[in-house]
Amino acid sequence: MKQIAVISGKGGTGKTIITASFISLSKSAVAADCDVDAADLYLLLHPEIKEKHEFKGLPKAEIIQDKCTGCGICYDVCRFDAVQKPQNSKKYFSINPLSCEGCKVCYYACLQMAINMKEQICGEWYISETKYGPMVHAKLGIAEENSGKLVTVVRMNAEIVAKRYKLDYIIVDGPPGIGCPVIASLGGIDFALVVIEPTLSGIHDAERVIEVAKHFGVPPGCVINKYDINRENSAKIEKWCKENEIPVLGKIPFDNLVSESIVKGIPFVEYKNNATSGIIKGIWRKIMKI
């Protein structure tokens, strides 16, 4: 079983469209949507949810008002500015849950035992069925943390499902950026496909995410999406990839029909049989040979 991740650094370069096409082409894959902040893959694969699970994050502090004497030790020890001073002539302190990182330092420091660590449900994850095979995906609660941990839960369950059904691939739709959810998406990946658009931002961000992939020992390969928007930049990307010994698996042209396929909710390779879908199929064939 091989694990492929589609990443990009910059958002909106076409990760999800390419991932959905690969899922449609592979015939033997688990789809894993690891963009748990803003999951879009379901809009193209239309999963039917079979299992639904709660995702628990670190418990967060809350102050029991009756016990608080207003001594302020919690305020002094908190390094995340999560403790708020008493307001409107009240004597007790309070916690801003959006700033609390669940470190429990206030809990241990409070002499009155006035702090309670409250369990947090900060998302849900699902095992679903699509017409292409199983899919593991998640929804992080609004304004929650621990997206990296939720990604790890999705990845672990995708592996269990792939083994159970003896499937050849896990295809990961990665999140944008280079922070914790991206790092969690890259652990144990056999090949990272980096989708680059030929814009200065696209290039800058791809170079950073490639550095992250290499840092964690994941071999990267590139696809230039909408390459004809700026052929000069596309040529620069190809040159840079050659110098850094990163294979360029394909160049996809700008195609108006791609937006249309999103509106219709169909993976592009199924929506249209044209030159663009031919190129995406070619990229998938190359990945299968790696």
């Binding site: 390094r79 420091a109 304004a143 944008p176 200065l200 930049n233 999103i262």
Partner: protein, 283 residues
């Protein structure tokens, strides 16, 4: 006043709209600070081309153990929520990449055997461009602690009657986004008229509502998809501040790092309206 530019989905045009508006506003002689809080992938500098005058390292405190004082009692490991410190028979192991820098081990060690040193996670760069004070954070690749760096960038925010702060926010809806938006007077959510744009816009709207900040929407690349985003805004009674039509020319300019404003009067007019809308909402 502080105005943030955010979106659930990446690549909807946050950076190009925020930088174009910054250039438009600075022409009016308004005192302007631009913060790029997308520390994972900071791109505003590609458009604003600031001259960076100062670079400072940002780090988080991690424990160092003084083995002369340590009795291996295990208190540090007990209080650490992140499993960043472990005590074995005759050693204490620190896992710096797991440490959030909360200071629990340092504070509760009964032998005072723990001190702290700073582990670098990124840098803050400060400079100027077109009369704008520019500040950005850059996370070190391979680093997962994003929020502390965003917090440092936010320290540079100024909120008074003479100064406007514009914030470029990372995509998504989780902790780095919340940290970036916190304390804003107004949030501009940028979306595109596709099912992906709409799905992620709804999440962004929920996020901003949870933070109880007033907001409006800019629909970018109008014409590429469908009408559902507009229908949603009408239904939810959310003001659409501007609609920016799709243009391949803008996409090409963007690819060279050229803000929309330079494209011509049509865009100047759009940014004039966006600015007027924002001030009318904040007042």
């Amino acid at each position: 006043m502080v105005v943030s530019f955010a979106s659930g989905k990446g690549g909807t045009g946050k950076t190009i709209v925020a930088t174009s508006l910054a250039l438009y506003v600075s022409e009016k002689g308004i005192n302007l600070i631009f913060l790029d809080c997308d520390v994972e992938e900071p791109n505003s500098a590609l458009f604003l081309k600031p001259l960076i005058r100062k670079t400072s390292k940002v780090g988080i405190p991690i424990p160092i153990v003084d083995f002369k004082k340590c009795t291996y009692c295990g208190k540090c490991a007990d209080v650490c929520t992140y499993n960043a410190i472990a005590v074995v028979k005759d050693n204490v192991l620190v896992f710096p990449e797991l440490c959030h820098g909360c200071g629990g081990c340092f504070l509760f060690c009964p032998e005072k055997a723990i001190s702290e040193k700073i582990r670098d996670i990124g840098v803050i760069e400060e400079g100027n461009t077109n009369g704008i004070k520019f500040i950005q954070g850059r996370l070190n690749p391979g680093e997962s602690m994003v929020v502390p760096l965003v917090r440092e960038v936010k320290e540079k925010m100024v909120n008074d009657s003479e100064t406007t702060t514009i914030i470029d926010v990372p995509p998504g809806t989780s902790c780095p986004v919340v940290e970036s938006i916190k304390g804003s007077d107004f949030v501009v959510l940028i979306t595109e008229p596709t099912p992906f744009g709409l799905n992620d816009l709804k999440l962004a709207v929920e996020t901003v509502r949870k933070l109880e900040i007033d907001f409006g929407i800019i629909i970018n690349r109008v014409g590429i998809g469908d009408e559902k985003v507009e229908e949603y805004c009408k239904l939810e009674n959310i003001p659409v501040i501007a609609k920016i039509p799709y243009s391949r020319d803008v996409a090409v300019l963007y690819s060279y790092g050229i803000p929309m404003l330079i494209e011509g009067e049509k865009y100047r007019e759009i940014f004039h309206r966006i600015w007027e809308e924002i001030i009318s909402k904040v007042r």
